[in-house]
Symmetry: C2
Subunit: 231 residues, 2 copies
């Protein structure tokens, strides 16, 4: 009886804390993406359970989802670990990202509605101010929206899934891209080429512009080297 009341209280606390599985996934993913946890770090189920004040069961659920997202690896009878990608694999992800962006840009050039084209152009034009003000954080937000518009503009749900998934897996390696001097202006110019091609319905041009945009932004080996030095 007393035990049950304890359970009740705990349950209330959990509900109040609002620690759902989804939130745990977000929290752990954030820790990985922001570098709080480094590749190779163990994710102990018991520690996580006590940390989020839930039992191991939902923790395992969350780890399963993170595993599906590719952020953590799991082996039988072993703790889940933050996935440790090697340089070759990282390069393959950046290349895949470039290919997917190119597809989205091509399809966007062909399929975007008038409204979508106008919205893309307007948002892009407005971002010039952010470049002048050197507002890196805000530009990063705009940049995410800009690319999301391309993914949506392709009007293909499955490709949207693939590109979003790839983007999530690359997130840990894209930190602070816009801090580099002149990077904002360069990004804007590259966006401009893409937007212009899309407005002209120039599919091939948009695809090529998007490919080189992402390829240049990534420069995988450099990114990886810097990321590795942190470890």
């Amino acid at each position: 009886m007393q035990i049950e009341s304890v359970k009740q209280v705990r349950r209330k606390e959990i509900i109040r804390a609002g620690t759902t599985v989804e939130q745990m996934v977000r929290a752990i993913a954030d820790m990985i993406v922001t570098g709080v946890m480094s590749p190779g770090d163990k994710l102990d189920e018991i520690s996580l359970a006590s940390r989020f004040d839930v039992s191991r069961t939902p923790v395992r659920e969350a780890l399963g989802q993170l595993c599906a997202m590719g952020l953590v690896g799991r082996e039988p009878n072993r703790s889940a670990v933050v996935t440790n990608v090697n340089e070759r694999h990282l390069h393959s992800m950046f290349e895949a990202m470039a290919e997917l962006e190119a597809i989205c840009a091509r399809l966007s050039a062909q399929r975007m509605t008038i409204d979508e084209r106008h919205a893309l152009e307007a948002e892009h034009r407005a971002s010039m101010q952010l470049v002048h003000r050197r507002a890196e954080e805000e530009y990063a937000t705009h940049n995410t929206q800009f690319h999301t518009r391309l993914y949506r503009g392709a009007h293909n749900d499955h490709i949207y899934d693939l590109v979003t998934q790839t983007r999530a897996r690359l997130a840990p390696f894209r930190r602070a891209q816009f801090r580099l001097p002149g990077r904002l202006a360069k990004s804007y110019d590259e966006h401009d080429v893409i937007v212009t091609a899309i407005m002209r319905a120039d599919a091939a041009g948009a695809g090529q512009a998007a490919y080189s945009h992402v390829s240049i932004v990534s420069d995988a080996s450099t990114v990886f080297a810097s990321a590795k030095e942190d470890v």
Copy 2:
């Protein structure tokens, strides 16, 4: 004590039956892919648990993986259901598949080693016999291998993951493609164009050939219509 011995026995049975989570995933995926279960069918945890003679816990694990694979959908406090894709979404998957195949063919034309090129060509040539013998089953096996060679030949791990994943999700809708009259010969001819382009290191040609090959094979709306009539 007695309870424990019962558990022991059960455990032995389970081990003997060898019903691991991975096997359950395979079994359920097969049921979906082969049409034993139709889109919209409920996947009751308790029924599955008794069916595989395990508790609900590993069943939930398996359902989570199937959800990540996109074969089943889950909503809170509701049974998992076999994903019911609409025509638009199915079309988007076929289109994505064509784009991914094109990428793999392009990259294969550029990157395959001499050995890989020879193996591809040899296997392709050998498949002509299967066409003459109208060996649909065997040709289907060969076809899978052929495409897998293209995915591997691109030398990009992440793209391999994406294309494999997409292929798995499309599996339920590709049954009996090779039963159609003349389909084998047509497939062979299309493979031939791809192989020739790859042997010449003609990236653009290989990409285009692969795209139209997959696009024609799929013909999404027809496939969907027939799949739908079964339901």
